[in-house]
Symmetry: C2
Subunit: 234 residues, 2 copies
């Protein structure tokens, strides 16, 4: 499903440009997460600086996309289909900006701790959930690129899985803290990193749900997975 084709080529171009912008911002935040994790592993300060600099770019996208959405609505008085598309983009950029914030917090943690793949308990698990969160984000962005709602149930399932891993990472880190008080400070840093990744998963899930709303006109937030699947298949 695509937004309605219009007599005005400019209008179509504006809608396509809006989608291209939000996907570009999505690409930047995906790499912010990747670089933040890499910075945690290697302690590379240049990567930390890159993630921080990219946050400014994402903020700029947020301002520009918000303004473009409001202007398009004011100038074009969009019909139902296009209006839902614009509102979906308007919400998505907010979640992308918040993902960028969480990636930045993760990168900043790399200035405090250098994590060792083999010696830091919990770090392999954190890389695993980060991989899961990136996968969720990619599926949600792909849903926007294709304007298909089908990713949402799978992303919701992955979010449950991520939440479960998050809980077990925290329990595991807690055990290390109790067994060896020297690990308390770095383990607490890892708890915050895990928390950021868990939040990123929530935002990716939100985005996939906005796409369902756009295509199906049904708000599936806070609904059981089974209901979401029925809506998506309908």
């Amino acid at each position: 499903m695509q937004p309605t084709a219009h007599l005005s080529k400019d209008y179509d171009a504006d809608l396509l440009a809006l989608r291209a912008s939000v996907l570009e911002a999505g690409g930047i935040v995906e790499y912010q997460i990747r670089y933040a994790l890499e910075a945690l592993r290697t302690g590379d300060r240049a990567l930390v600086a890159r993630v921080i600099a990219d946050e400014e770019r994402v903020n700029a996208f947020e301002r520009q996309i918000d303004e473009a959405c409001t202007n398009l609505i004011a100038r074009r008085a969009p019909a139902a289909n296009d209006l839902r598309f614009i509102m979906m983009i308007y919400k998505t950029i907010t979640d992308l900006e918040r993902i960028g914030d969480e990636a930045k917090k993760t990168a900043l943690a790399a200035r405090e701790v250098r994590l060792n793949e083999r010696r830091t308990p919990g770090f392999p698990e954190i890389r695993m959930i980060a991989g899961l969160a990136i996968d969720m984000l990619r599926r949600s962005l792909d849903a926007i690129a294709r304007l298909e709602p089908d990713a949402a149930p799978e992303v919701a399932r992955m979010d449950r899985e991520l939440d479960g891993h998050f809980q077990s990472i925290v329990r595991q880190l807690l055990t290390y803290m109790i067994e060896d008080p020297r690990t308390i400070s770095p383990a607490l840093d890892l708890v915050f990193v895990a928390k950021s990744i868990e939040r990123i998963g929530d935002h990716a899930k939100n985005i996939s749900e906005y796409v369902v709303y756009m295509i199906k006109g049904r708000d599936v937030r806070h609904l059981p997975l089974e209901v979401m699947e029925t809506v998506v298949r309908a």
Copy 2:
């Protein structure tokens, strides 16, 4: 400043109803925070259940307000002023719903730990930052009620203060954990509660910034406090 008065009484009534709904949702989340803190102090299960039940009410407000915003835009093709008002409400309800989520997480922590005002290190400080976050939220909601942008710089200052307190609470809890490993598990619960309150402050700040955008047409997010003050006074 008020939204433009219209020839249609229905339209005015719709805009007023939208504002009343978002303020009502705001009142619910304010009490979710208060009850969650009280549940932490007293271990009162009925309060925990109340906060969880209220989350459903806030979710329902979010669905209803999102739909009302989209419908109003589709039916009325609002002019600049009203459109900015509707977009402000559309963003605000998302932040309110996320505040409700954080309050729920805080209430759920009360099922794990019962905090003692005098014996739990860090708890008085957590009550203090919760008071600050509630104050920020009230100022932001009041800005919507009055449609005045002047709260934003003060709320931004309070957010800085809250972030500083949050950092020092985490450092303090870290010290207790290291000195007495028996405190590790409850202290980690408190770290998460402090983190939720810090997030609530961020959301309150967002709301006060949306009001500036609505009234002044200037997006002051991510800008220095001095710039925000100049915009608000202009």
